[in-house]
Amino acid sequence: MQKNAYFTGLTVPLLLLLPQLVITVLFFYWPASQAVWQSFLLQDAFGISTDFVWFENYVTLFSNPGYYKALVNTAVFSSFVCVLSLSIALLFAVMADRQLRGGEIYKTLLIWPYAVAPAIAGVLWLFMFDPSLGMLARGLQSLGIAWNPRLNGNDAMALVILAATWKQISYNFLFFLAGLQSIPKSVIEAAVIDGAGPWRRFWTIVFPLLSPTTFFLLVVNIVYVFFDTFGIIDTVTGGGPSGATETLVYKVYSDGKGGSDLGGSAAQSVILLIMVIAMTAVQFRFIERKVSY
């Protein structure tokens, strides 16, 4: 059983694991199990009586067209944010990798957005694209584009996608740059001698060798768009107009906090959790096998 000689007892390993375990139990397993329990309960409007209703909350949820709308919103939002933030970050990383003089400054500047809190990032973009105050909105309007994220659902969606993408690019950029710099220079040189032009080199050598990084980022980005974009959506649109930017995680909040439907909200949380676990599992099961060397 003993794998190595460094730890002879169980006490030291357990002690070392304890802080992480405490945090995980306190902030994940406990609330998650509470959510699971609560998803089986139904409370009356005044919180006086609580009934155990089995799967009634789930049944109600799946017969609610609003929930499907949130599902579609999430699909649109997450695919756009993932694809955009990954591809733009990759482009930046390739350019930064090529020109290393001043690269440090470039890197530092690009990492800043990551240090901005989601809510602040949201407000920033809200101001820039505010139909009456925002400079960029003015610009769009002067180009003849009827821009109004307060009224137009598509405009609102575009705006939250933009804000969420902007915030994630820096994170992806750093990982892509590190990934690019870990590709041995001689491999690229061998490809140059083998007669592969820059474009072909990128797609046949660099991109495949980056795929472990890309895969890791894909998992991280999906978790990001599913959960961490809450702050951006809340500050920029509040899920509106008329639910056009209401994603699954935002609906959990608005139904629970605003709608006081704690049981329904808990049921949504549970479903969301299962979805993300399932997606991550699928990614690891089927994609990771193909991307490691």
Partner: protein, 358 residues
């Protein structure tokens, strides 16, 4: 197949550092040229300039009849084997070897024929479906060679290709590289810091130091008549003994009290001129006491090499190493007498290190 000519080639980095300070030599068609020197001497930079991976700051490189200064690496018709092999980790051996041909748009059946041919020559046919990760160092080395030969280039470039192999494999691959190059008749340039590789592989040896060529020639000539103290100590193992001495007449040098005849020594040097005298450990012979021209050598300890022994000690009061067959000397330590072949006494200028030969 082509001749490679370098004319006053220089590499100057943006900071003004001159890594290669004007190198000229040519390699005949089918020749095997080895660039040897300590790390940082500019040999790899020179090779990379021939490959087109580094720009040429000044001078001219031509392959065949073409000046290639402005031609990209892909169009130079060369193939390179890197020190870390630089195999594409995500491709199978077959894909690694065929990548260059696929980039050229070679027909599939032609690619298949050439890859299989190369795999047969290198005895890596059973490995074609494997990934580089699944190969041993020696196998990777072969794949890297295979990738070079399927392209049928005019010139092979080797950048320390054996440095990452263990000693036994290195000797084996060294022989195979030489055989392969002979069989294919392709011009080769080979960079190494290993003087044994340099001596055994080359038919043109270029010894470099600090961005400059110290000596060019046949390996045997470089060994027998090193043009400078640097070459003398760099080529040959164990290295040549260098002892301070003075000119003691035409063709005569003095080492302390001892007098040595040096037949190759220039005769126009004034007496008492300080010089450095080089004696190879293996050029020394054991003599009996009182024999004409014999020198006293105080042996301090002996290193056993199997076929030969290395005797470390003091020659005329100066540190000295001699190499002799194991059964030649019975004495374990103490004073013995040695003679030196006057044709094999090398004398160098103290200031410049240049050979003071005829």
């Amino acid at each position: 197949m082509a001749q490679v000519t370098l004319t006053n080639v220089k590499k100057i980095y943006p900071g003004g550092v001159e890594a290669v300070k004007g190198v000229s030599f040519d390699i005949p068609d089918g020749g095997f040229c080895v660039l040897v020197g300590p790390s940082g001497c500019g040999k790899s930079t020179l090779l990379r300039m021939v490959a087109g991976l580094e720009t040429i700051s000044a001078g001219e490189v031509s392959i065949g009849s073409r000046v290639v200064n402005q031609i990209g690496p892909a169009e130079r018709d060369i193939a390179m084997v890197f020190q870390n092999y630089a195999l594409y980790p995500h491709m199978s051996v077959y894909e690694n070897m065929s990548y260059g041909l696929r980039n050229l748009g070679t027909p599939k059946d032609e690619i298949d024929r050439r890859v299989k041919e190369a795999a047969r020559i290198l005895a890596i046919e059973p490995l074609l479906d494997r990934r580089p990760k699944q190969l041993s160092g020696g196998q990777r080395q072969r794949v890297a060679m295979g990738r070079a030969i399927v392209r049928k280039p005019q010139v092979f470039l080797f950048d320390e290709p054996l440095s990452n192999l263990d000693a036994k494999l290195r000797v084996q691959m060294r022989v195979e590289i030489k055989k392969l190059q002979r069989a294919l008749g392709v011009t080769a340039i080979y960079v190494t810091h290993d003087q044994v590789e340099a001596m055994t592989l080359s038919d043109k040896l270029v010894v470099m130091n600090a961005g400059q060529v110290e000596q060019i020639g046949l390996p045997a000539d470089v060994y027998k008549k090193p043009a400078s103290k640097f070459v003398a100590t760099f080529i040959g193992s164990p290295p040549m003994n260098i002892l301070p001495g003075t000119i003691d007449g035409p063709g005569i040098v003095a080492l302390g009290d001892a007098i040595l005849e040096a037949r190759d020594l220039r005769e126009d040097l004034a007496e008492q001129t300080p010089v450095e005298v080089g004696l190879r450990p293996e050029d020394v012979e054991i003599a009996s006491e009182g024999e004409a021209g014999s020198l006293p050598f105080d042996v301090e300890f002996i290193e056993e090499l199997g076929a030969t022994q290395l005797f470390h000690g003091q020659l005329a009061g100066l540190p000295f190493v001699m190499q002799a067959a194991t059964d030649a000397v019975a004495a374990v330590a103490g004073r013995i007498w040695i003679t030196v072949d006057p044709d094999r006494v090398h004398v160098f200028d103290v200031a410049t290190g240049a050979r003071l030969g005829r």
